[in-house]
């Protein structure tokens, strides 16, 4: 009896599966590789959430030119090996026409040979500049390069007529990349680096470094790291009564930093993507409409404020949508379409890709923000 029941159920299940497969054949399949678990989950989770949300909405509105999108997401757990396996699976088994992700630079670099060989366009959500430098035919990215954030800070300092800077960078991948850019771009903006110090990602007291910096000739302090280090530094600086203006990286541009650093966050300036200041941006900002739509949408779906990371996935899907709307259908035509994207006002910035630029952004992707009254405001 039970055995027969099982057979019948299996049959029904098979029928249902094949049926849904038949429907799925008319859809445009997009792959997603996000680190939903593992250490970079803070990137992958909002990215996946956003990608799902946007695809659902596009489908609810009738798809793109009548065709529905189908998003197939795999979790890479931040592991490059797994990312490569999943990318292969997306291409071979799921037959996607484009892939969004992975979330981190390491994973992206590992996946690049796979997509280049299979000729499938990849829109990475990771920030490392080496992803698109040198340009790879099928690889694009939506996250802003670190160099753009550095340019934004230096540009601001130059206008403030300050040029002696102290650097305090975290000794991990993010900090190392930032330090490299800070040092290599300094001469172009006439900046003089008087202290170049580091701290460990798990360090809990940076008063020693700050004491050294206080004794130096520096006019400003630039801290490059992700939470919690910069919050500790802000607190330590307040403890020491450090008079230097404090500049941080876009790595802390989330409400979490303000919550961690408390009063010590007041007056801290940093280059940030525009998501966090969407509501106070001037009306003429071309990204404002996209930003407000994204933030509101994410809030409605997930009861949280949308962040930059979700924004990278939003941009990636919308870029694909634009390409498909303009007539692309195969992987190759989507690639061409992406490369011909001009002036797309997304979340991360205004994208203009070209044959020589697959990152697509300039330093206007960042605005200088200042923390005032426990909230973000635009720095003058």
């Amino acid at each position: 009896m039970l055995a027969r029941m099982t057979t019948v159920l299996t049959l029904i299940a098979t029928l249902l599966l094949t049926a849904s497969f038949a429907v799925a054949a008319d859809t445009i399949k997009i792959g997603g590789l996000f680190a939903v678990t593992g250490p970079p989950a803070f990137l992958g989770e909002p990215e996946r959430n956003t990608a799902k949300m946007v695809v659902d909405e596009i489908n609810k509105a009738g798809g793109i030119k009548g065709q529905k999108l189908e998003l197939i997401v795999y979790d890479t757990a931040g592991d490059a090996t797994k990312a490569v396996q999943m990318a292969t699976k997306l291409i071979r088994d799921d037959q996607v026409v484009a892939i969004i992700g992975p979330s981190t630079t390491g994973e992206t670099m590992a996946v690049i040979p796979v997509v280049e060989k299979a000729r499938i366009p990849l829109i990475s959500c990771a920030a490392g500049s080496k992803i698109t430098d040198p340009v790879k035919r099928y690889v694009f990215k939506t996250a802003q390069n670190d160099a753009l954030a550095v340019e934004r800070i230096y540009d601001y300092l130059k206008r403030q007529k300050q040029n002696r800077v102290a650097l305090l960078t975290v000794s991990d991948g993010f900090g190392a990349s930032g330090r490299e850019q800070l040092k290599s771009l300094a001469p172009r903006f006439g900046m003089q680096i008087v202290v170049d110090d580091t701290y460990g990602p798990k360090d809990t007291d940076m008063t020693s470094q700050l004491t050294k910096i206080r004794a130096s000739q520096a006019q400003v302090l630039i801290v490059w790291g992700t939470n919690p280090g910069p919050a500790v530094i802000a607190k330590n600086a307040k403890q020491l009564g450090l008079k230097l203006p404090l500049y941080m990286s876009h790595g802390v541009s989330s409400k979490k930093f303000i919550a961690l650093a408390g009063d010590a966050a007041e007056g801290v300036r940093l280059p940030s993507g525009k998501v966090v200041v969407a509501d106070v941006l001037p009306k003429k900002d071309p990204q404002k409409a996209s930003l407000l739509a994204f933030v509101k949408d994410y809030q409605n779906h997930y009861k949280q404020e949308g962040d930059h990371f979700g924004g990278h996935a939003w941009d990636a899907i919308m870029l694909l949508k634009g390409t498909i709307e303009r007539g692309a259908i195969t992987a190759e035509s989507i690639r061409d379409g992406l490369e011909n994207t001009r002036q797309f006002h997304g979340i991360g910035g205004t994208f203009t890709y070209s044959a020589t630029d697959h990152a697509g952004l300039n330093k206007d992707a960042f605005v200088m923000v200042e923390i005032r009254n426990k909230d973000w405001s635009l720095a003058k």
């Binding site: 460990g200 798990k202 020693s208 470094q209 004491t211 919050a231 009564g241 961690l260 009063d263």
Partner: protein, 294 residues
């Protein structure tokens, strides 16, 4: 700013970090002396202290002065369960297996904490404000005074417990010779249990008093645990003053190293000291080769 003030600042920063290392280090040595094993889950109790306090404060909305003792109590309970469920069933195992079990226990506790409280870093409110206190050009926070004060108090209590109470003396007896202690009627297993409870509670308290300065997250236990271990090794695994001095030396050297040489070497300093001590003076900086322990 002249070098003198700078040095004073390095010293003050170092002493307050060192006090924490000392507290964690004593937790290591209490268990080592009672059982002969190094409990690598010690750092996780430090994490539990901070995270539990945070949980009691934010979810149950308890005031700080209730949340802190309650968090210490809960962490002690975890220590008790840990001994009962992971260590006691394997009492016949060799110390090395038990040490490996404590590493497994540490990973388990950390994993559970991550699942329950998430991966975010959190900050605790300071016990008494954030106004810096000036001291000859260098600055301290009120929280630093709390750390130093509580550390001194705990070390005093510890000393008193081991020299003047029956349980304390019994624990010392077990550390000299468990078999003889058993023969004179001391319940050795109870003493082992007690050592885990005390260490867990001390670790948790250390975690709570630093959290307002350093913040806390599910994974802070690893590094703090290792630094505490260094302190205990410098002190020759004694649960008395030498581990405290070991912790303070470590804290000050780290701080001076970061300030005068390069902060890149900060953690390296701790581990180079650890290796040097293990190679050259395995009995600790102050111990005689056959030093008495506890």
């Amino acid at each position: 700013m002249e070098l003198g003030t700078q040095l004073l600042q390095y010293l003050l920063s170092g002493l307050s970090t060192g006090a924490i290392y000392a507290l964690i280090g004593i937790g290591f040595s209490i268990i080592y002396n009672a059982t002969g094993i190094i409990n690598f889950a010690q750092g996780e109790f430090v994490m539990l202290g901070g995270m539990l306090t945070l949980f009691l404060l934010s979810v149950l909305q308890l005031p700080l002065w209730i949340a802190i003792p309650l968090a210490v109590l809960l962490a002690a309970l975890v220590g008790l369960l840990f001994e009962r469920l992971a260590i006691r069933p394997l009492r016949k195992a060799s110390p090395i297996s038990l040490v490996i079990i404590t590493i497994g226990g540490a990973i388990l506790i950390r994993g559970l904490a991550m699942l329950i409280w998430g991966k975010d870093t959190h900050s605790l409110p300071s016990f008494s404000g954030d106004e810096p206190i000036m001291l000859a050009g260098a600055t301290l926070l009120p929280q630093h005074l709390w750390i130093l004060g509580i550390t001194l108090l705990l070390i005093g209590l510890n000393k008193w417990f081991f020299s003047h109470t029956t349980s304390g003396k019994a624990m010392r007896a077990c550390s000299y010779n468990p078999r003889a202690a058993g023969l004179v009627g001391i319940d050795v297993r109870r003493m082992v249990l007690l050592s885990f409870v005390i260490s867990a509670a001390m670790g948790a308290l250390a975690g709570i008093i630093v959290a307002p300065l350093t913040m806390t997250a599910y994974d802070v236990g690893i590094m703090l645990g290792l630094k505490g271990f260094c302190a205990a090794i410098i002190g020759g695994m004694s649960s008395g003053l030498s581990t405290v001095i070991g912790g303070l030396i470590l804290g000050v050297l780290e701080s001076l190293g970061a300030g005068l040489i390069s902060s890149g070497y900060k953690d390296a300093i701790a581990f180079v000291i650890l290796l040097l001590i293990l190679f050259l003076r395995p009995q600790g900086l102050f111990g005689k080769p056959e030093s008495e322990r506890v």
